[in-house]
Amino acid sequence: MFNPEICLYAKSHEWAHVDGESATAGISDHAQHEITDVVYVELPQVGRVVEQGKPCAVVESVKAAFDVYSPFSGEISEVNAELASHPEWVNQAPHGQGWFFKVRLAKPGEKENLMSFEQYREFIKTGK
């Protein structure tokens, strides 16, 4: 479980849980609720170098397919490989079993571009 209250959030509705030199990422509870039942997840390859705000995974629901953007720049160090065969985890436990990947932080300062839990809650409510 990655406590939602200490996670950081992107405007594109990903969460990041920073732990030392790496961060775990997934999509927010709000996002999973909005896109409804997830039926497919495509994860990045371990070792791929991703950039903050650039697409690096895909999540597909019965509504449509959506890009998932990396909350931090760096190298993908681990992915939740089991998620591919259990896409429903994204809905059931977006901050738990439904995590997507871990990224080694190349630029820890990028957290300044993300929102706190309170800021994100406000963002959902007001769009700002």
């Binding site: 909005e34 019965v62 509504k63 959506f66 896409p87």
Partner: protein
Amino acid sequence: MINQGEATIFEKSVPQRRAIRFPATEGLPSSKDGLPAEHRRAASAALPEASELDVVRHYTRLSQLNFSIDTHFYPLGSCTMKYNPKINDQIALGPRFSKLHPLQPDETAQGILEALFRLERALCELCGMDAFTLQPSAGAQGEFVGVLVARAYHQKRGENRTEILIPDSAHGTNPASASLGALTPISVRSNARGRLDLADFKSRLSPKTALVMLTVPNTLGLFEDDILEIAEAAHRAGALLYMDGANFNALAGLVKPGDLGVDMAHLNLHKTFSTPHGGGGPGAGPLGVKKHLEDFLPVPRVVEEAGLYRLRGDFPLSVGRVRAFFGNVGVLVRAYCYLRRHSAKEFRQISESAILHANYLKALLKPAFEAFVDEPCMHECILQTDPKRMNGVRTMDVAKRLLEYGFYAPTVYFPLIVPEAMMLEPTETESKQTLDEFARAMLAIAEEARKTPERVKAAPQSLPVKRLDEVGAARNPDLSWPGRVSSS
């Protein structure tokens, strides 16, 4: 109204029942004689066994269960499901067109070549373009050819441009076509008015920009009213401007893309020019270009030389062939018939009626459904379901319930930037009575959502196929018939 479901043809199978009995083959060599053992079947194919009458009734019944433009109002946004005049089918199916062979000499196929030549000229006139290729067999292939043409154009000028700018409201085919053509799609934001955000657009233009791809009117049913400034900025940066003409039903006879600074545009003939479509095709997505891009168009091209129409392939700068033979010719013939039956003035009336109908529908539905951008729209309107106001009823539920009222559902959950989107395109061919009936159904569903939301969420219940388990179907697709068919 048929309310019973129809069993599958496999369930109707009866051992030894046949439509045709083949004569006995005694004394003749059997296929087994010539076929190596490892290529022979161990058991017979599990095909259903049925009489001709069984088969005719089965498929006729299935066709009667369908929603189609010939049976129902079909406001599927972005698809322009207008009536397809039957005379176009008759002409296209006539032996003079349908019995031609694509490899027969040009001299013996002058009729079809002339029709294609004239179709190209007419499309040039409607779009303000200098040349057209009829080859692309769908809108997305038109986009792909446009990307190839843009690359060839920049390459010839010695420029290495690798990026394409696409608004976040675009059809998914735009970035897909760009990727297939080896350009990197860069997403540009929409502003609060649902148009391209000019500041964001300009900040993303660079010497790497090969192409700007814009849908006009855009997928929110809105005219990109900054298009002249967009065109100028794109050209100043050395990029080309491509117009996705999927929504040309709002513009034909009213606006020529060429006058807006557009360098290339594709049209979806199966939409605007009224040929049957849906279910995957066939379609036609001709691409029109301005003079400076003509040399790069795909081959073959129809030319007129000394009173003779020919297919010519020797254009050295061409991007090459993009399709076998000459595109979906049957669709092209239908589109040409449609075009010839309407004057320029009538095309203007068609577009104006399409726009009027969308605005009328939007006004009728506004009491119950939110308008994403609250201003007049073009040929389609985007509405939203607000689950908070409707006891948790979502757009998907409204769409399913509509089927029970005898209407096909609008496009749902697109554009992606609109939460709980519904995209309604009534087209010019529907009457006021139909639009009124449809609006009454939509408002009745909104009322149900307030009083008996569970009924809406469980819809459809009165149709042969009840609420489908879409999630289960997507997560665990099972595509084979599980039952045993008797083998003979």
